[in-house]
């Protein structure tokens, strides 16, 4: 930051078109943007943190019921979705690299694949929701979870009220995660548009980096959601 100020004035002339007036130089703007995103992700962590707190407390209190409820969701789909997200994270990181090294077509392809994978994720998710809906596992008036044995205790049935709490948390957590995915898709559509227009150069590709951070974060949330929601007490 320091030496930039010495050349403070004529810096203005060589402004990159994307450099906002109140920044002295491009590096400062980049640093500000990435720090801003990281802090925003901190906010997001705490946002999901409240849910994780609720989850932990009830899982501890109603372990068996949570196990039974968890068993009713399709772990294979969950695992597939985890893999899908991981692949999308790879393509995101490729996109960033492509932008850094001015590989325009790789950039475009990576962005497109990322979005496709995001859509696949949401599709699988929707399918899961559909199953839950048909099985009357959606909390609310038509919820039913009668006579489902607790894993490891075949003669004991899960308490439907407690299973309902599991499903409530399941839908809220995965629902909020899916909402983040949808927002992410919107973000990436915009990035794709900008990339297609040729806005990004090795000097200026902060939006790609920032968008990538967001996408990776959403991936990390899922990395925790998967075992916590799908894999409680699975073993026979």
């Amino acid at each position: 930051m320091s030496d930039s100020t010495l050349i403070g004035l004529h810096h203005q002339e060589e402004h990159h078109p994307e450099l906002l007036h109140h920044f002295a130089e491009a590096q400062q703007q980049r640093d500000a943007a990435s720090l801003g995103m990281w802090i925003f992700l901190g906010t997001e962590v705490m946002f999901f943190g409240g849910l994780f707190c609720a989850y932990l407390i009830y899982r501890r209190a109603y372990f068996g019921d949570f196990g039974a409820a968890s068993k009713s969701i399709n772990a294979t789909l969950g695992a597939t979705n985890t893999a899908v997200l991981i692949c999308s994270s790879l393509t995101v990181v490729l996109a960033v690299w492509a932008a850094q090294t001015a590989r325009r077509s790789l950039l475009l392809i990576s962005l497109v694949i990322t979005m496709l994978l995001g859509l696949v994720f949401l599709g699988i998710k929707a399918d899961e929701y559909k199953d839950k809906f048909e099985e009357h596992h959606v909390p609310g008036a038509s919820f039913s979870f009668d006579h489902v044995p607790i894993p490891g205790h075949p003669d004991q049935y899960a308490n439907p009220r407690h299973a309902e709490i599991f499903f409530a948390l399941y839908f809220i957590m995965t629902g909020l995660h899916a909402l983040h995915m949808i927002i992410g898709l919107g973000l990436f559509a915009w990035l794709l548009f900008m990339a297609w227009k040729g806005h990004f150069t090795p000097e200026y590709h902060t939006p790609i980096e920032i968008g990538g951070l967001y996408w990776h974060f959403v991936d990390i949330v899922w990395i925790y959601l998967f075992p916590l929601l799908y894999l409680i007490d699975r073993h026979p």
Binding site: Y62, G64, H153, D155, Q156, Y157, A158, N159
Partner: protein
């Protein structure tokens, strides 16, 4: 106590003195602190007010001073904390053989039931010089049982029991307030605690009882068919409930819990939550089938099964066997 302009609340329980003592201590400490700071402020403000030609003397700071005013307050704080904790522990730990009163709060009234069977609404009669334990639950939202003269307050939650206790020291009539906001008539959810001399109290007690609460409980126990499984021998499908209360119970999953009021309550409403070791989870839930009052009666009955009112010696023996922690951890 109905003077127009009191400055100190009535003091009518053993806890009052404890709380007041700590309060006075804090008044003194913080009074001194306030005095110190105010004096310094005023003195500096006057002594170093702006004068033409005299400029301020710059002082960077001083590590020794900083350390002093970090550590000394901290030590004072520790004293306050420890004292407060002691008072709190006392107020949360009911003595073992207190008389018991079951409290059910609902929007917007207090329903009280003595273990001996007297029922009251918004009014509680208790004798001077006796430990009274309150076993409280709510039918709807959170309320709070507050008797300023006893310096006693405890939130009353739906879905579980909370406990409180007091030992009244002075006859009189004292305010009972609901201190947790609970809706429209929150400020109308008030009542009176009538502390009576033992003799009067006996007289009061002799009227209007429908028999002890545990007897009511026994009746309900029979009516609901609990007795078909819980028999007094070892042949029942459920465990023998004699002497269960207050003891540690070994569960099927290896954990051990103490059979306190909340445990009994849960066993009736959500039997699947904690399975007693060696038994099958066949007990049906009674959620929705028993009212809070019936539940209290059942709990009182199950408790009575563990109180051999026989000889004084056997009581002492039972007390000794008790898990020493049990009494303390009952108050949740």
């Amino acid at each position: 106590m109905f003077d127009n302009f009191p400055l100190w609340p009535a003091r009518a329980s053993t806890a009052s003195g404890n709380v007041d003592a700590l309060f006075i201590f804090l008044l003194i400490v913080s009074g001194l602190m306030t005095l110190l700071i105010f004096t310094a402020l005023v003195y500096f403000a006057a002594r170093y007010r702006y004068r033409r030609g005299v400029s301020a003397e710059q002082i960077e700071g001083s590590i020794p001073l900083e350390l002093t005013w970090t550590t000394i307050p901290f030590l004072v704080f520790l004293v306050i904390f420890a004292w407060g904790a002691v008072v709190y522990f006392k107020s949360r730990t009911p003595p073992r053989d207190s008389t018991e009163v079951y409290v059910v709060a609902k929007q917007w009234m207090w329903k009280l039931e003595h273990a001996e069977g007297q029922r009251e609404i918004n009014e509680l009669h208790v004798p001077v010089g006796q430990d009274v334990k309150l076993i409280m639950t709510s039918q709807d939202v959170i309320h709070s049982f507050y008797v300023p003269a006893f310096r006693m307050k405890q939130d009353v939650l739906p879905g579980r029991y909370t406990m409180a206790w007091f030992h009244a020291t002075k006859a009189g009539t004292y305010h009972l307030f609901c201190a947790e906001y609970c809706g429209t008539q929150h400020s109308g959810m008030i009542g009176a605690i009538v502390v009576m001399e033992p003799a009067q109290y006996e007289a009061w007690m002799s009227g209007g009882s429908t028999g002890p609460l545990s007897a009511t409980g026994e009746k309900i126990f029979a009516e609901l068919g609990c007795a078909t499984c819980h028999r007094t021998d070892t042949q029942g499908r459920g465990p023998n409930l004699q002497g269960v209360f207050g003891k540690p119970v070994l569960l099927e999953d290896g954990r051990t819990v103490t059979a306190d009021e909340n445990y009994i309550r849960e066993s009736i409403l959500d039997p699947g939550a904690k399975i007693v070791s060696g038994f099958k989870p066949v007990m049906p839930t009674f959620q929705g089938l028993v009212s809070e009052e019936q539940l209290n009666a059942l709990v009182a009955y199950v408790k009575s099964l563990s109180q051999p009112v026989a000889t004084p010696t056997s009581t002492a023996a039972a007390t000794q066997q008790d898990n020493p922690k049990a009494a303390g951890s009952q108050v949740q």
